[in-house]
Amino acid sequence: MPEENYPRDFPNLGPHFRRTSEPAYYNCISYVVGDLKRRWWPGEYHPRWSDDYWPAGAPHEETLQALIVALATVGFTPCPGAEPEAGFDKIAIYALGNGLITHAARQAGNLWCSKLGPDEDIEHPLEGLEGPCYGNVTAFLKRPVAVAAFPPASPNP
């Protein structure tokens, strides 16, 4: 994604980001669950039209409730806030005002890491991706670190 598009899509980001990878096929949900082989997303139409993986039993809806069911299959449960918790990996969910989920970011110390759609990974403040594209942060989930480690951060290009 050209960085010149960042102000359009992420007006709250400004210069407060660091690019950590080049574009790749996986998406933001793949990234936060640590499954870089498969793109995760619910199918909007009949499953035969979906190109993405979505756990069996999770509703094929772009809603927070469906995402919670899907991510429960890999050990995540809802939690109240963004504060780092020892022994837990934490992720944030972004959604539009109409409730449609748009994005997920994972915590990395005091910052957050994201895969931007089909484009690159960046490190950013949580509120940096809030805006017209992803909406606002609406929920947090966590899972014990022992369940599955996040992939190591990619080196700078």
């Binding site: 498969r38 035969r48 772009e62 759609g117 089909p118």
Partner: protein, 127 residues
Amino acid sequence: MALNEANLDFIRNAAEDRDGNGRAASAKAPESAQQKFIRLRDEWKAQRGPQSSTTRLVMHPAYQTIIGMGPAALPLILRELATNLDSWFWALRAITEEDPVPEEVRGDGEAMAAAWLNWAKERGIQW
């Protein structure tokens, strides 16, 4: 409806033209199929935005126009898929009305690309 033999012939010929035999014919046209595909591909990649949903990514007008190119776009999409993995599976399904991707590899871009390239090889479609 699956691809019939006439459509497959059209696709094979389009692939041959792109490889050189049809350069004179292409030069007469204001824009060859390959030039059109590259223009639309670049427009799609520049404008699609950081969407997480594949469905939303492929609804961009430039991507839909590539689908509208029909069988002529097939070798061009396959070549792109073989060299630069991206969300081309929707277009391939829409153009061919087939889907060789096994359910168990849904979401795995590399495996899905391999399934489509193998599908094309089995039908003698070059890219």
